[in-house]
Every structure is written in C-alpha cells, then in structure tokens.
Symmetry: C2
C-alpha cells in the first residue's frame, strides 16, 4: 500500500486525494483535543477557518459552542481554547463545537475533498491503525495520505513522530514517500524517549513556556481513547466503524 | 548558534530572515547545477520565476543564455535544461545564464531579502561550512536558515540530508528547530549509504526514470567543487570570500 506523509496544512493536496484515505494529525493540539471532546460526549466538531466563519456558523446552529486558538491562546469571547482539558464532559457533552485553530482545522478543510478524512493523534493511534486494517478488508484502498498539520506552515516533529508510529504499526509492506520514510526512521530513533522528544520540540517548548505542560504530557500519551473521528458532511464525528 | 531548516520553497520566510545567512539547497538539481556552471566559468546565474520573466530578461541582457526546467525536462526554446552536464565550459564559459526551475530558483527568490544568500549542495558542502566559520569570525551572525527547496512544495529527502550534513559539520553547539533536529538524525542514519538514500528518494527515482542517472550520482557526490555561490544584486555569482 502506498502511504504518503505531508508536512504542513499548506501542502497542496488536490486532485490526488480522490479515492484516498486522509489521516489528519495535529498532536499539539487540535486533533488531540477533538478526540478528547468526542470521548467526552461532544456531538460533533465543525472545523472552520476564520473567526468570522465561526461567528457566522454559530448563528446557524443554536446552542453550539465556540472553541479554538490563535497563537496557542483561547480566542476572546470563545467558550473554549485549544486545550483538551477545556473540553470536559460537563462542558461539551451533547453539544456541537465550532472550532478554528491555526493549523489543524486548516488541514482538515484542505483535505475535505478526499474519500474519507479521519483525525489521528497519539491518544487514539491504535484505533486508527485497526480501522485502517478493517477498511482495507472492505474497500480497495488506493492509498493513504497522512496529513500532518505542522506549525505555521513548518515541519512539526510531534506530528511527524505520530505519522511514523502509524507507519510502523502498519508494517513493512508499504511504499513510502520521502517524508514517510523520514517519519519511519525518526519515530524508530525517538521511540524510547518519545515524551522527551515531544517536550523538546519547537511546539512542545512553546506550550511549556505558556504553561501548558499538562497538555503536552497528555497529548504525548498513546492509546487511551479508542475513537476514530471522521469528517462527515463538514462535521467531525465519532464514527464507530470506518466507512 | 541558531540553525533553522525549512522544508520547501513555499515556506514563509519574512520578516525573520533579516540579519541572517540563508543557505539554499536544491540537490536535485538547481543548486548542484549552479555550482557546476560557476565552476565551468559561467559569469553569473540570474534566477527568475517564470518563462515570461526569463524571456523578458534575455532582451535586457544581450548574449545571455536561457536555462531551466519544468517537470525536470528542458523548456522548449531554452539553451539548457536543469542538468549540470548541460553547463559545460564551452557552453557557459564567460556567459550569463537566466535560469528558471520549479523549486530551486523559487527558493532563492523567496530568500532574496536576507542579509546573505548562498547556494549549497553536496558538491560544495565543505566550502560552505568553511565559509560559515569564516563569516562567523568577521560578523555577528544572528542565525542561519537552511532553506531546502523541496520538490513541488513537498519535503525532499536529498535536500534534508544535505542540510543534515552541514549541521553535522557545524558541530554540536547549535540550537536547531524541529526540522534541523530531524535532518541531523536522518543524515546520521543515511550517512553509510548516502548515494543509495538519494537514489531511492522520490525525486531520485523520478530522475532515474527520466534517464538522468548520471545526474543523480554526480549530485550525490560530496566536496568536489570548492565554490560558494552567493546572490548579489539578483545574480548568483562565485564569491571567493563570504561577505
């Protein structure tokens, strides 16, 4: 199977996404936060690109909450920031959340034309890999694109390590692009000290400086939430079985 | 010293390039070809973005040659393609070459606002590292940005390995960004089989398919041309001493 890894939300993706499964990764923190929100009973996350779009969308969806960040901090007037700990069950249970982040929601929107779009992070990594195996048994999968959101159009090590872990778990019978090969090697080297590698990364360091150490440690924790979020009709929902 | 590596010509670079040394890398093949052309007596290479700009520029510079590629192939009506072997002494000696390539010349133009812009590849790697050491002794260098051209806005392994080799030769007292750290690790792993890694890369494979095996082997050869090309007033020239 062909597996391509893309480095940033700005990477051009069309037209070749058609008939492919896209897996969006934004470890720090958008996809980690989405997975957590869904685990906590959030009904759906609606990714939008701008503040204006978020506010407009809220008018259309009564009762929806607003979440997201700019420069890692909660947006003024929003209900939640981009920390997974903002999305507690008592806050998001049964609610829909309109969300805008600098990198993650951009990547999701850029991938929206693909056959299927799933959100991955360390928290749900095994469930993503299992869902890929199940999907492969049911449909002819032309290829997988692992779409790292990156950080402000830059290569992001936590996203790349997460991609590398997915690739390692998918086994050896893969055709990888350059970044896929790099991700595989980088993950293998970082594996014994994964938490440290994520903390030491540019984005990890920035979050630590801003007081989000708890977020970084949580987002670097593998396989605690058995959820495969999928983009369906513009909304990220908990999809029990990969389509 | 702070060393940042950027993955593609599309990576946003301003305003932070001011007061920094930018090293542009496009191993396959733009910077390798530029270094070769200058070694063969070419007076200057003028990087331009479009065919239109190239043709317009030629009207302004009598006797200039046109070089470059689209999809790795020579552009119709141009004097040379993007193969270093097109730039033989009898062809480019004493001439100026107007050049447009998909990735390399874009990266050079994107970096043009920096304090200094040098072109690197495996061919001139040691000379680049030595020139950095000399520059550090003369001026206070705020940081180095290693600007990998990438391949059509994608991460490119040969460029990243070349960046990793520069980083390794610069020693251990460096502050690296995520991609700098990744390049360092990837180079260390690939070092014993560098030629093979470059041949196996996406861009390497594409060039092999197109019959450019000789180019790939040549561009993967380290330290045969002691040249430090610099961008000065919009032209890439052989600068004997780093400014």
């Amino acid at each position: 199977m062909r597996v391509e890894v893309l480095a940033t939300a700005g990477t051009p993706v069309l037209p070749y996404l058609e008939d492919k499964l896209v897996i969006v990764i934004d470890v720090l923190r958008a996809t980690s936060t989405m997975v957590t929100a869904l685990a906590n009973g959030c009904q759906a996350i609606i990714p939008v690109l701008t503040l204006e779009e978020a506010l407009k969308k809220r008018l259309e969806i009564p009762g929806a909450l607003l979440g997201g960040e700019r420069r890692a901090m909660q947006i003024e007037g929003f209900d939640m920031g981009n920390s997974p700990f903002d999305y507690a069950p008592e806050k998001v249970g049964g609610k829909r959340v309109i969300m805008t982040t600098t990198n993650g929601t951009r990547a999701i929107r850029a991938a929206a034309e693909a056959k299927a779009v799933w959100m991955a992070c360390f928290l749900n990594l095994d469930s993503i890999v299992e869902a890929i195996y199940r999907l492969k048994q049911r449909v002819l999968l032309e290829g997988i694109v692992i779409f790292c959101a990156g950080t402000e159009d830059r290569f992001d090590l936590p996203d790349t390590l997460c991609a590398g872990m997915i690739i390692e778990e998918l086994g050896s019978d893969l055709q990888l692009n350059d970044l896929g090969e790099a991700a595989r090697v980088l993950y293998k080297i970082a594996k014994p000290n994964l938490m440290e590698a994520i903390e030491q990364s540019d984005h990890g360091q920035r979050l630590l400086e801003l007081g989000f150490k708890k977020d970084v440690i949580y987002c670097a924790t593998a396989n605690i939430l058995p959820i495969v979020p999928a983009l369906v009709n513009g909304e990220v929902i908990w999809q029990i079985e990969g389509r």
